[in-house]
């Protein structure tokens, strides 16, 4: 089951990005927020990762802000902490209606639990709740385990997932074949769950070889390690 048409889907205001640890939620969220801003919308990205101390979207504050994306994240010294603090601007994004954007949640049930307090509002605002799938992660070894992880995340945050993001990669060792196998895996999870695949994400350098995946969302890689 695939969603057809333009990507990101026009008319959608708010995207909640969930997933297991290390699936690439943050890279996807940063790219999605920049794509929304590029459509000329007033856009924000909320970094709600309360469980990881490193590699969070808040590290990309300068790049995001220079390209018209407001970063909603803990400020001051708290920016460098791993404390369960909720940024005061978050309700503005949740409730809109003028602000579009992306909520980048932490990984696993532990990281997504914080969303539960906003779940009623997020449901009322008909947000897109997407679950990022990376086949290369051990918890996604098969479709059953991937779905069990998805259900555990849903239960923790009180939101129902309404789309899958196929985002299989092996960081620097990713090939078009890696992405294709991941896409087939996402299709299988989609079939078993009835959830549509919202998009197939892949590094822009591989996009030329993957033109047949629809819709394809080419990613520019921002979340690099210091030696990359």
């Amino acid at each position: 089951m695939q969603a057809k048409g333009a990507f990101p889907p026009p008319g959608e205001r708010l995207f909640v990005i969930l997933g297991a640890y290390g699936t690439g939620k943050t890279e996807f969220s940063v790219n999605l927020a920049l794509a929304l801003a590029a459509q000329g919308r007033k856009t924000a990205l909320a970094d709600l990762d309360l469980v990881n101390p490193y590699f969070r979207s808040r590290e990309k504050a300068t790049e995001l802000e220079s390209r018209g994306v407001e970063l909603i994240a803990p400020t001051g010294a708290l920016r460098h902490a791993d404390l369960p603090s909720i940024p005061p601007r978050l309700p503005a994004l949740v409730n809109g209606p003028d602000l579009a954007g992306v909520i980048d949640a932490g990984g696993d049930p532990a990281g997504s639990r914080v969303l539960a307090s906003f779940a009623p509002d997020l449901r009322r605002r008909k947000s897109r709740v997407w679950y990022v799938l990376n086949r290369s992660r051990p918890e996604n070894a098969d479709a059953e385990r991937a779905l069990a992880s998805l259900r555990a995340v849903e239960a923790a945050c009180g939101l129902e997932v309404n789309g899958l993001v196929s985002n299989t990669h092996l960081i620097g060792a990713t090939t078009a074949q890696t992405v294709r196998e991941g896409a087939a895996f996402a299709d299988l999870v989609s079939q078993k769950s009835g959830l549509p695949v919202a998009c197939y994400a892949a590094a822009r350098s591989l996009a030329g070889e993957l033109w047949d995946l629809e819709p394809l969302f080419p990613l520019d890689l921002y979340m690099k390690r210091p030696w990359e």
Binding site: P53, A81, N134, R137, P226, W227
Partner: protein, 355 residues
């Protein structure tokens, strides 16, 4: 086996279990919390024991107890927590008990920051705790290497009846990398006739202690420890050298800093500067002889050390070279990470000063 994407902390915990570790005791601290979390879930499945201790001090003493009973045991923490464990580590040394201690270093001193650091080098390599003693210190630069070294850590601990430390910076714990789980032959069980695991067989009570009230006996014991350490210094040195042949400059760095330094070396190459990377994998025993040989090449003008500290390993580099070549230092500290461009700049400055 196909490659899988693992987070460092989780991979290290899984590797410990696959290496035969059946007892984990720990107390949470960022940036290594995924280790106790993973162990709490996986260790019972593997038939082992997980205890979240009431403190780091309790955890290291539980390691002592489990190890004394003959079980492969480990603990993990990050910088401030390791300071708390030092008394127990000294007891492990004094009782000749195998154990693995993981330090996922953050920026200090004190509570400091939760960002990565390497400033516990002195603490790990100079004195695991009070008294004369050493421990093997292994420094992985990536997740695959951390996984592979976990097996070696337990092997070395058992072989030498001594604690082994894996010294990693927070980045290793927090980043994701593709890894391959290698199928390894199950190791033959190590005989531990000294273990306090009952009086079966020899009918004697086994005492595992570091208390030796007679000074003459204690001196003889410490001397025997140092015979063991001499064997480790002879047989267990490990390092990696990349592009060091005929290099103008050697860059010495360990852990993830070595990967950043390698990026810097590649930049320098484009500018016509040949910089080689010398990466100690064992920080103790330090690969002094290998470094001395490489630095002794006619082409090498200087050795620059790069660390996430104000300069600690640089002392071992100086001791190894005994003034043979100029030694300089570049570092970031307190949770800040060096950038390839700045390392390259510092390298050019070093070369301009020695030419």
């Amino acid at each position: 086996m196909p490659k899988e994407l693992w987070k460092g902390n989780e991979a290290i915990a899984e590797a410990a279990i696959r290496a035969g570790c059946r007892a984990y005791f720990g107390y949470p601290i960022t940036p290594q919390n995924e280790i106790p979390e993973y162990m709490s879930r996986r260790m019972p499945e593997a038939g082992g024991v997980f205890v979240q201790a009431e403190s780091e001090i309790a955890a290291i003493n539980m390691v002592y107890g489990a190890s004394a009973a003959g079980t492969l045991a480990m603990t993990s923490s990050s910088s401030p927590g390791i300071s708390l464990k030092q008394e127990g580590i000294s007891y492990l040394v004094g009782a000749e008990l195998p154990a693995v201690i993981l330090n996922m270093m953050r920026g200090g001193p004190g509570l400091g920051t939760i960002q990565p650091g390497q400033a516990d080098y002195f603490q790990a390599t100079r004195a695991p705790g009070h008294g004369d003693g050493r421990m093997v210190v292994l420094a992985p630069a990536g997740i695959q290497e951390a996984v592979d070294l976990m097996q070696d850590s337990f092997d070395l601990a058992d072989r030498y009846r001594n604690p082994v430390m894996m010294l990693a910076d927070g980045m290793i714990g927090q980043m994701m990398e593709p890894i391959e789980w290698k199928e390894t032959e199950p190791r033959p069980p190590v005989e531990k006739p000294w273990a306090a695991d009952g009086r079966d067989g020899d009918g004697k009570t086994h005492f595992v202690t570091s208390l030796r009230l007679q000074s003459e006996k204690n001196e003889r014991f410490v001397q025997s420890l140092f015979e063991k350490y001499a064997a480790i210094e002879r047989d267990e040195v490990r390092y990696e050298a990349v592009g060091c042949e005929n290099a103008d400059l050697l860059i010495a760095a360990f852990g993830t800093t070595a990967r950043i330094a390698l990026s810097a070396a590649r930049r320098l190459e484009k500018e016509g500067v040949r910089a080689g990377l010398f990466r100690p994998i064992t920080l103790w025993p330090f690969p002094s002889r290998a470094l001395r040989e490489l630095a002794g090449q006619k082409s090498v003008k200087a050795v620059m050390t790069v660390e996430m500290s104000m300069g600690q390993m640089v002392q071992d580099v100086r001791l190894a070279l005994e003034g043979m070549k100029p030694v300089t230092f570049y570092g970031r500290t307190g949770g800040m990470v060096p950038e390839p461009a700045h390392i390259a700049e510092a390298a050019k400055k070093t070369l301009s000063e020695v030419k």
